[in-house]
Subunit: 233 residues, 2 copies
Amino acid sequence: MRDAYHEELDSIGDSLVEMARLVGSAIGRATTAILDSDLKLAESVIEGDQKVDDLQHDLEGRAIALLARQQPVATDLRIVVTSLRMSADLERSGDLAQHVAKLTRLRYPERAIPQDLHATILEMGQLAQRLMAKAAEVIVTKDVDLALQLEQDDDAMDLLHRTLFQHLMDERWKHGIETAVDVTLLGRYYERYADHAVAVAKRVVYLVTGEHADELQQDIKPDIQPVSGVDGA
Amino acid sequence: MRDAYHEELDSIGDSLVEMARLVGSAIGRATTAILDSDLKLAESVIEGDQKVDDLQHDLEGRAIALLARQQPVATDLRIVVTSLRMSADLERSGDLAQHVAKLTRLRYPERAIPQDLHATILEMGQLAQRLMAKAAEVIVTKDVDLALQLEQDDDAMDLLHRTLFQHLMDERWKHGIETAVDVTLLGRYYERYADHAVAVAKRVVYLVTGEHADELQQDIKPDIQPVSGVDGA
């Protein structure tokens, strides 16, 4: 039987998984909303983010109370501190899903995304959702191999992001500046979302293995920037 | 005379101020670099970010050691936990300054920013640097009034960001898609940089007043999005 202390630690883990589930669903729904120009679905994502914020807020309160009351040391202390960081990553992921939904609302009833970019955006949205589902699984299973898979998935996201930039930079681009701005921001939202999912997984790896102290840091990977022939970013 | 414990707490505060100083200088230099297309200056910002990362890493280690050894409660515990969050904000601000510098390098020897946007970008860069200088001052002085000033400064940043979007959306825009993409990303870098500076100040307010629990959260303010006639974002 577990004591109250470990039950509380477990419940923090449960909240993280619930947050990951919510923001995973949010990016999936936001992607559908922007591709279909579905205002109602977009609104549900925008409103739903409050629940993620509330969960984070609640988790923070419990984590700090746990530190104060139980004064954990060593591994347990690291779990609590790392959970605070993971909750920040997940909260930010929720914001980014919300941004995708807000762009849908801003352009409604127009479609923000031209047809020839639908496939790429759909892939980015699906990949983002899969990354978050894997991050949630890593939180539950502490599976280091799965966590390392996320980095490969993230490489695929970078590739999609580059594809998006190539479309933008193509001389045959005919969708004008407003759409170029929207697509630029959208690409960044997905890329950052993926970064946070990877960060969550890496934090678990660090907890399990104690290795890669650098990965404790807020940002793991440099953001990619637009290309122009060479990738100098 | 202060005991070792409070000396350690103070030294964490000193590290935060040093980080703020470094990332404040970085955004100023990155702005000059992108406006002048000064590759050497850009490289110095890119390389200099390692020092910020190292400081954060070191600060985290000391904060966690302090939690483990001293097991602070109440206010002291909140100071340590909040310091961890502030260090994450500052580290991310450094990344954003580095992004500005990388965009300079990517476009070199071309200038990334057309002449008619120089004034706006310069203002954004200067405002970002002032915001960070004030954030550092707030860390030192715990001056709540000054912290609240940062929110007004941030409104000015939003206004500049909107100005930038208006330039982009103007039918007379003649700088092409690549520059539109660069300017879109650049605007976002400055805006997010400012958000993190404001977040740092708000976290201090929370420590001092114990109010505004919401402001403990990672993100305080919704990001602005491109406008198109009306601001629906």
